[in-house]
């Protein structure tokens, strides 16, 4: 430091300290800290005008229309295959195709030999007991459902073969045996006949229909190709105890020109019987085959497009459905419809939907036999609709409701539809902030 500056500071130490204090204070103020929210929390009168008006309204009618569509998931797309039997009401059959049976086997240290003998024929079911109903004992019947045609995709010929003369296996099982894997015996003679079948169409193929029956409602699910736990076929190809059993996986040879359908038909479910009633003036979802509901909304654009939506609650009035146990539940999920109005087929549109949890995260659990007001929160989607208003082809302002485990549980939930009276039809309760002046003191 130069001498003159030293003497200057020596003489004016007090003012140097003032300057230092000022600099320290200014540095301390460089980082602003503006939040005085604690004071507002303690005395809201200190913070007037720091809120906005929130309005609440119930819009009814809120739907342009609603539709219930049946047949979900599509045939062959089942993740789990429902085996259902409810006396005089619902009966399903699970069909699994083995269209590529082995006709040769390979003994140890030997060359391949044609199969001329089989024993220990059986299938293995991987069972899912989630929400299952299993009485003390159940009977499982296996039918030969191959009607002998080449590219058979029709259901009726399959259902026509669920008769005693086509029964090729089965058994009765105690409840305790119905666990994660269940082996069901198959007649060895039937198995051998199919292995040795040399007819051009039916050569080396076996198509099995599986049904369940027993005292009381039965409902459980078997794994499928889609779930990675398909029904497999086992048989021992020789009268030699040292011969290892062959394992056959599902395979479909037809239709030859549609690989996608061939894949679907490796295993699938058909409804043999369904006499559940359709309640007039209602929409319903769940059941076997699965139903889903398409809701097209007609909400006032002056609210949806030009306000801030805080909450949008879909209010549905449930109708007691006369089927199922008192403890049965259905989980209902709302889905975003991705199809625009350029898809006029609403059934098709009801398949063009977002996955569960996309935009809409709410769900509800209902007891089918109960009734009353049920709600689903839709605000994230309603906000999306507002932001999509400027799009050339925005998605339809619609929601699809599906049942959890769709198409695999015989449970149906019904709600009053848009055609019901004003007090019962669906409505939407919207809480919103209008575009008004706020922030002025």
């Amino acid at each position: 430091m130069i001498p003159s500056m030293q003497s200057l500071f020596a003489r004016h130490r007090a003012f140097a300290m003032v300057a230092v204090l000022a600099v320290v204070a200014l540095i301390g103020a460089c980082k602003e800290s503006l939040d005085s929210g604690v004071a507002c929390g303690a005395a809201k009168t200190l913070c007037p005008g720091q809120n906005v008006e929130i309005r609440d309204t119930v819009i009814s009618p809120s739907l342009e229309f609603d539709s219930t569509y049946v047949g979900f998931p599509t045939r062959g797309a089942e993740f789990l295959l429902p085996l259902v039997s409810v006396t005089d009401t619902v009966q399903t059959v699970v069909v699994v195709r083995f269209d590529s049976l082995s006709t040769f086997y390979l003994p140890a240290l030997d060359t391949a030999r044609p199969i001329i003998y089989v024993d220990s024929s059986r299938i293995r079911l991987r069972i899912d007991l989630t929400r299952a109903q299993v009485p003390d004992s159940i009977r499982i019947d296996l039918y030969d459902v191959d009607n002998g045609t080449a590219d058979d995709t029709a259901s009726a010929p399959v259902l026509a073969r669920l008769k005693p003369q086509f029964r090729i296996g089965g058994g009765t099982f105690a409840k305790a045996q119905i666990v994660d894997s269940l082996y069901v015996s198959l007649k060895d003679s039937a198995m051998l006949a199919h292995v040795r079948d040399t007819m051009p169409v039916t050569r080396a193929r076996l198509r099995i229909g599986i049904t369940v029956s027993g005292k009381g409602p039965i409902s459980f699910r078997a794994g499928s190709v889609e779930s990675g736990a398909p029904i497999n076929l086992f048989f021992r190809p020789a009268n030699d105890t040292a011969a290892r059993a062959l394992v056959q996986s599902p395979a479909s040879a037809g239709p030859s020109d549609r690989a996608d359908i061939r894949r679907d038909l490796m295993d699938y479910m058909l409804v043999v019987k369904n006499t559940l009633p359709t309640l007039p003036g209602t929409m319903s979802l769940g059941g076997v085959p699965g139903r889903r509901v398409y809701l097209r909304f007609n909400l006032p654009r002056r609210i949806i497009d030009s306000t801030t939506i805080i909450r949008a609650t879909l209010r549905l009035n449930q109708v007691s459905y006369p089927f199922g146990g008192a403890g049965d539940t259905i989980i209902i999920h709302p889905h975003v419809v991705l199809a625009s109005d350029n898809v006029p087929d609403n059934r098709r549109a009801s398949t063009l939907i977002g996955v569960t949890g996309l935009v809409l995260t709410d769900s509800m659990a209902v007891f089918p036999r109960e009734s009353g007001l049920r709600t689903l929160e839709l605000y994230p989607l309603v906000r999306e609709w507002a932001s999509q208003a400027a799009l050339k082809n925005p998605p339809a302002r619609a929601v699809v409701l599906t049942a959890g485990n769709e198409g695999s549980l015989p449970r149906i939930a019904a709600f009053y539809s848009a055609t019901a009276s004003a007090a019962l039809r669906p409505s939407v309760r919207i809480t919103y902030i209008p575009k008004i002046t706020f922030g002025a003191p």
């Binding site: 200057l8 003489r11 004016h12 007090a14 003012f15 003032v18 300057a19 000022a22 204070a25 200014l26 301390g28 103020a29 460089c30 980082k31 602003e32 800290s33 503006l34 939040d35 005085s36 929210g37 604690v38 004071a39 507002c40 929390g41 303690a42 005395a43 009168t45 200190l46 913070c47 007037p48 005008g49 720091q50 809120n51 906005v52 929130i54 609440d56 801030t308 939506i309 805080i310 909450r311 609650t313 995260t361 709410d362 929160e377 605000y379 994230p380 906000r383 309760r429 809480t431 902030i433 002046t437 706020f438 922030g439 002025a440 003191p441």
Partner: protein, 384 residues
């Protein structure tokens, strides 16, 4: 060792400061948060004026209140100011501290013959705050827990072009043209604890302000040791718009008046007193109809004492006390602000530059609410 005269004056000034700083707690002043309504009225006071409790407002050339006062600038000057405020609001024993940084004043002055000119830009009202607090909100049929997020940034500024004319060494008059541009962005939002049932939101409105006013001032030297100055501002319209088009309020720039008198008969000391007022009710029409407005008076006393010299130029020590009415009521109660202040003016480069520091301790209180504020004002002026 004999004490020098400035050392005695320093001790005296320190005594004034201690007396002044002790006043707020003794005065049991009433007040509330300064950011109510359209914001805190900074008043365009320079660091020098703040150091004297704003008693110098009509006599200080760097304070854009009295257009005649710019004549006191001996030559051209550029002046800027930085002014952080450290505020503590205490309610039921719970205190909240905030820090607000401001650059509230910038001024250019120059002289040509008997005329002196100045243009300045200052903060008229500062409406900057952030509040975050827990609250419940009825949404549909339920009350949901939420966190409120509110924020206001901006305020109203004041631009002034002023001219003073010196009829003689003892008589000076001034005239000012004022414009009041403003921008204030207010955000209101909520974050709900249960995001499955209600959607968070944050809405922002941007307000703009435009206003005009004219002002007159005098600066008279009636006697050897007396100076008397006065100012009068006549407000024009003040318009508040949402965005840049929708008019949401119309009022007027408040009428302002003030008289300052100084006495320098005591060697090395200047004693000042000021009385003024603002007709804040002229703002009626801006904001809601329930916005509480109260006309306020502004009284202050202060002193400026010559201290030691640096490079031949004197250091100035300042102290003051001020009591004024704030424009916006807390409920139906008027709000007053009392403040004690001190400051120092340090000449640099042989007087060609000045470094002013003003420290203000303000107190605003209301029923159950106490607000204390430290305001540090640092001004720097260059006379090329």
């Amino acid at each position: 060792m004999m004490r020098t005269s400035w050392q005695y004056r320093l001790i005296a000034a320190a005594g004034v400061c201690v007396w002044a700083l002790a006043l707020p707690s003794a005065a049991r002043a009433q007040g509330s948060l300064g950011t109510l309504g359209l914001g805190y009225p900074l008043g365009g006071q320079s660091a020098r004026s703040l150091g004297t409790g704003a008693s110098l407002a009509d006599l200080d050339p760097q304070t854009p209140i009295n257009p005649a006062a710019i004549v006191l600038n001996s030559r051209a000057q550029v002046y800027g100011q930085y002014e952080p405020e450290f505020r503590t609001v205490t309610i039921a024993g719970v205190g909240t501290k905030t820090t607000t940084s401001r650059f509230p004043l910038f001024m250019l002055t120059g002289r040509q013959g008997r005329a002196t000119f100045a243009i300045s830009f200052s903060s008229f009202m500062d409406r900057t705050w952030v509040n975050t607090y827990a609250d419940t909100q009825t949404v549909g049929s339920e009350r949901l827990a939420s966190t409120v997020l509110t924020q206001s940034i901006g305020g109203i500024s004041e631009g002034r072009a002023a001219m003073s004319w010196s009829f003689s060494d003892n008589i000076h008059v001034g005239f000012g043209l004022h414009v009041y541009p403003g921008d204030n962005r207010v955000s209101v939002g909520r974050i709900f604890a249960d995001s499955a049932r209600a959607g968070n939101f944050q809405n922002t409105n941007g307000y703009s302000f435009t206003g005009t006013a004219i002002s007159f001032g005098t600066l008279l030297v009636p006697g050897k040791h007396f100076v008397v100055a006065s100012d009068l501002r006549l407000g024009g319209s003040l318009t508040m718009r949402l965005g840049d088009s929708l008019t949401v309020g119309k009022g007027s720039i408040p009428l302002r008046y003030g008289v300052s008198a100084s006495y320098d008969g005591i060697p090395g000391a200047l004693l000042i007193a000021r009385f003024g007022g603002e007709k804040w009710s002229d703002l009626r029409g801006l904001g809601s109809s329930t916005l509480g407005l109260k006309d306020g008076t502004d009284m202050s006393v202060g002193t400026e004492i010559v201290g030691p010299r640096i490079s031949g130029a004197p250091v100035l020590l300042r102290a003051g006390y001020r009591s004024r009415g704030l424009p916006f009521t807390y409920g139906s109660s008027a709000v007053t602000e009392t403040s004690s202040s001190g400051g120092v003016g340090i000449p640099l480069i042989g007087g060609r530059a000045v470094f002013d520091v003003g420290v203000v301790h303000a107190s605003r209180t209301a029923v159950g609410i106490a607000e204390k504020s430290w305001l540090i004002s640092v001004g720097f002026g260059i006379r090329p």
